[in-house]
Symmetry: C2
């Protein structure tokens, strides 16, 4: 049995890697995509259905669980794994992203205020005031008890160089140090978070500031927040080479099928994103080559499965016509069946990416993926190329 | 292999029976409770989850599927089994109950008008006018292709003796004859429906009128529509002895756990009801001995399962505190987990009733059921005795 939080690198091709990160809830094969269980539930599916579509890592949100039902209650009930019935590896974010997404400023309508010690915010549920400091967030995440926890960081706009350099980065690094100082759970890996917006020099400076703290893994935060794909790629290209080879790298809140391919190509090991589950509830089916809007009348009599090449529960048992009917008739089962399919699309893509890296043919895989997408979009009126 | 639609009576104790009804989708063990899949989906659960909780017969509603997505489309897609991915026995009602539940009368606001030839009604979806005749309903139900179909009947108020005797019953019997005359599907059993409200003599007259048509099964309609339990029992006591021993008897739209016990005691073989699935979506857990309102704050820290004696997926994996959290946080999974549990409660109760009848100890079972309910309600502040 490998010791906890070691990261075994099994294969490398260019910057792409395949490995195993050892957690208290078993080995986590990377690269990996984590479905998001915001409130300790991946919306519309059971833990068993998650397991069946191939999920290995599940994320839960510290901000949401702190507010409801409360981290002390989750701890009293045995921790977030037991609470939600998931016995595989889990990850909690720090709540920073949600808090910084609340409207800021100094007026009466302000929902959050930041200072060097922490951030004061008002709950989106009842408007009550709360305060996150690095120490408070560590208390919450240790109460929740996920296998991987994140330090509190400042998620600011990605393109204000001066603010990032003079305020956000120094604060983020000081908070990382304070988190590390009070984090004591031996069965929980605490990851540092590299910030720096879209600027290569700030990203490198942020990585350099965090590496001496010797975290068992590093996240890349503050991306996929409105910047262009090109800017995101520039930021990734500057960051991953500056991080230790022997630690997993987690690109927070990203992304689409394309993002998985391009992120792995740039040395990312862990991804999470609400996209596949959120668009499922709106009636969108994700395919590797694009998406289908299942409310569309053109599917009304379509006896084909969502994706002829897919072997998920939904595609093995149900037609496009039935799934369209469920959305038109406002049946909850529609969201469940599309969530199963969309997660399967992401997880089977990730599995294929991993196999390609292990076999030393990731470059071919990546080229074929982009060729197929272009072909798929050109040939089929059913597919749209962009993701919501 | 037994021939289609034969009903093998395996055991009898008083009026209670255990048997097997042979359908084109396999043998149906009776007594049986059918979950309701109104729009070709049992709300909040997949067909696999239905199978896992022990469902053997599923009902779908002709009125709803006729309006949306349309019976011709369902037929083109291979019938309702294939459409919804359920490969066991299925039953469709005639749509009569839904149509007669629309507001009637002669004014401009009237949603339906009945005459001796059929009933004209306006869709609850878009207000368009439609007409059901016995012949039209047979066309629809044969398009849907369930294993058991129902004749069109008139569902009127249960306590207007004169109207029932002079209008509703003659119409119901004439329509049954017309349905029988045009029904041709050899793989579909067409059941007659006994009406007559709460009046023993009308129930017996209705049974006597239908028996010469030699249906492969008989339903009892127009009950559980607002009359007292005592009136329902009087009607059942008058009806079942008037029906053939060698045909299954179906009590439409009933009921609660108590109704299953008391219905079997009066010779009923088939039940259906939306209660367990509907109350699940409102946060109510059904137990044999009563119900729990899972939104209640007293469950906030309760680490016990819904029912210590239950072995359903929900009770094996989740606490009352987690299920309460899901409802408070408006997570869809709450409805799914309670639907699984509530259906399991009904289906395992039905299974135990069947075993008791087969073993010749149903009288004991019935007495113990009522003793336990009284004890449960007396001893536990958690339980309410009445059902929504």
């Amino acid at each position: 049995m490998a010791s906890l939080f070691t990261f075994d690198l099994l294969a490398k091709e260019g910057m792409a890697r395949a490995g195993v990160f050892h957690t208290a809830h078993g080995p986590l094969l990377t690269p990996v995509y984590a479905p998001v269980g915001t409130q300790a539930s991946v919306k519309a599916v059971t833990p068993r259905q998650l397991h069946e579509v191939g999920a290995s890592l599940v994320l839960a949100n510290t901000y949401h669980l702190y507010l409801r039902p409360g981290d002390a209650l989750v701890a009293a009930l045995g921790g977030v794994h037991r609470f939600m019935g998931w016995d595989g590896p889990m990850l909690t974010d720090s709540g920073g992203f949600q808090v910084f997404s609340l409207a800021g400023g100094s007026g009466k309508q302000s929902l959050r205020k930041i200072d060097d010690d922490g951030v004061t915010f008002r709950s989106h549920i009842d408007g009550r005031t709360h305060r996150f400091t690095p120490e408070k967030v560590m208390e919450i995440e240790q109460n929740l008890g996920a296998d991987i926890a994140m330090v509190l960081d400042e998620c600011s706009v990605p393109d204000d160089y001066d603010y990032l350099k003079r305020q956000a980065l120094p604060r983020t690094h000081a908070w990382a140090e304070r988190c590390k100082a009070v984090h004591t759970r031996a069965d929980q890996a605490l990851f540092g978070i590299v910030q720096g917006g879209i600027y290569p020099d700030l990203r490198q400076a942020s990585a350099a500031a965090l590496i001496p703290l010797d975290f068992p893994g590093y996240a890349i935060g503050g991306l996929s927040v409105g910047e262009s794909k090109a800017d995101m790629h520039v930021a990734l290209d500057a960051t991953t080479p500056a991080l230790p080879e022997d630690k997993p790298r987690y690109l927070m809140g990203v992304g689409t099928p394309e993002d998985l391919v391009e992120g792995v190509a740039r040395g990312i090991d862990i991804f999470d994103c609400v996209l596949p589950t959120r668009v499922a509830r709106n009636g969108q089916a994700l395919l590797r080559m694009g998406k289908l809007n299942m409310r569309n009348a053109r599917f009304a009599e379509d006896s084909a499965p969502l994706d002829e090449t897919c072997d998920c529960y939904t595609c093995r048992h149900f037609s496009r016509a039935y799934i369209r009917h469920l959305f038109v008739a406002k049946e909850m089962l529609g969201a469940t069946l599309l969530t199963i399919h969309n997660l399967h699309t992401m997880l089977s893509l990730m599995g294929d990416i991993r196999s390609a890296v292990v076999a030393g043919r990731f470059a071919e895989f990546r080229a074929a993926f982009w060729d197929a997408r272009k072909g798929g979009i050109r040939e089929s009126g059913n597919l749209s190329s962009s993701f919501a």
